[in-house]
Amino acid sequence: MKAAMKKAYLWLIFIFLYAPILVLVLFSFNTSKSRASWEGFSLKWYIELFQDRAIMTALGNTVLIAVVSALAAAVVGTIAAIGIYNLKGWRKNFIINVTYLPILNPDIVTGISMMILFIALSFPRGLASLIIAHITFGLPYVVISVLPKLAQLDPQIFDAALDLGATPREAYTKVILPQVLPGVFTGFLLAFTMSVDDFVVSFFVTGNGVENLAISIYSMARRGINPKINAVLTLLFAAVVAMMYLIQRRLRKSTADI
């Protein structure tokens, strides 16, 4: 009886959380433009979607920004993590906390402060400013994924590499990096997902008519309800679910390794 109650409770939560998305997915396949009634299955909104130049451009921007910023965040974040790992005492804790802060910082604060920064530097707002902003908020995710991997390392293996004739650079690339690579990749996936996911920060730092998918959907939605939006969002949702699944699997695998 009790178990049944628990199960019902769980299902209730699931329905509560996922009903809106389910409706969205369902209506993305609806023949009619109506949002109220189901009139048959069709892929027509998806077809229209792929013929919509504006949306396709925005999708291209989103992918470009996500790939470039996540790659850059992975490189810079890994170097930063190694730097932090080599620090000692209060400095280390201080830098770690400073690095993690942006994760908790509300997007609106990050977005507006970055916008102000770009204006103050008279940095042209557009694709470049978007990428820089996305690198900034992706970075901490790489650092938090790589640092634990470094902490797991035997502190003597760096010396062991030097002992065998490797220069410090070779020791990092041939010994340290291969062992933290899973962490780097997890960080990359997280940063990539966060980038695809972002609306608020992008909204404030973009300019010159450069739109990513999130911004483009937002402006579409303001102009009026179009079932194409359902289709885009369904695809976006599917992409994020896939990414999250990948990340989860990696995390589970890496904890199983220990």
């Binding site: 035997d154 003597q156 293996i157 010396d159 062991a160 590499a161 030097l162 002992d163 065998l164 004739g165 490797a166 220069t167 410090p168 070779e170 041939k174 010994v175 291969p178 062992q179």
Partner: protein
Amino acid sequence: MTQENQGKTSQEMIRLVDIHKEFEGETVLNRINLSIAKNEFVTLLGPSGCGKTTTLRIIGGFEHPTSGDVMFDGQRINDIPAYQRKVNTVFQRYALFPHLNVYENIAFGLHIAKKDSKEIKAKVKASLDLVDMPGFEKRPIRSLSGGQQQRVAIARAVVNEPKVLLLDEPLAALDLKMRKEMQLELKNMQKQLGITFVFVTHDQEEALTMSDTVVVMKGGIIQQIGSPINIYNEPENVFVADFIGESIILEGRFLEDCLVEFAGRTFPCVDKGFIPGQPVDVVIRPEDVDISADPAAAMLQATVTSVVFKGVHYEMLAETDQGQEWMIHSTTMAPPGQIIGMSLKPDNIHLMKKEVQGT
């Protein structure tokens, strides 16, 4: 010191000159002077925290001395980075690369040195044979036992044919039987390869069995350098006497050459040159105490308080009428409560200047 190693070339391999090392203002090594000959097996021995690892790391180039010089084959190498030194290390917890298999671990140094792949293959195979692990090339590191990892760590170091091999407590993690086996194997390997070994341990027995020369350290200061026999039989101070094997340490007074007073009577001894009347420490090895069932004829009388069987000998504690406790190692046993006689041969009584209280 090194001249004592009969049959060795006394050509110098490493010399530490007045090495001083501080960590955050704290002195860890104090005026270390040490000369290591080619092909010598030198052991740094001392209690935890005495600076053994730090000394080794200074030779390896992982740590820089605050002052003093490190000489290698006649050249000052203070400014040569670790990766350019012709020295290899077997680290305390092996420090194998877990993302590489056995072959790749051992080949690492050769790859870095850009040797050709045929040569690498042959050398890796030879070194695996040397450590008695043929055919283990493909095995991942995680699948190896502690003893096997130990062997791979040794193979990974010696395959580079270093002039000097540094070993930091390489056997500490092994069980007793395995440790004894590896002690012999390492010793044979050193002879076979003709490499200078600098070995670190805090196990005095290990140091005595394996080494040509033992360096006893305490609190960052070298206490004594000598052959195992020399260190055991002629400890230079009470610390060395106490650290190497078991010792009875008593307070005494030097009377004149070859005569000393302790335990309430005078004893003939072989030491000379102290000031008459000077207080001294008297060091006696427990196995050097001769016991007899005829107390009246002996030099001292004591009552046995405890007996423990140690395998080859009995370890007994006996209390003299002055209340001093003596430890005795003997193959004959006297039961607790029995009064025994104790005698000492003059050359088994070792006199030492009283320790000036310091580190």
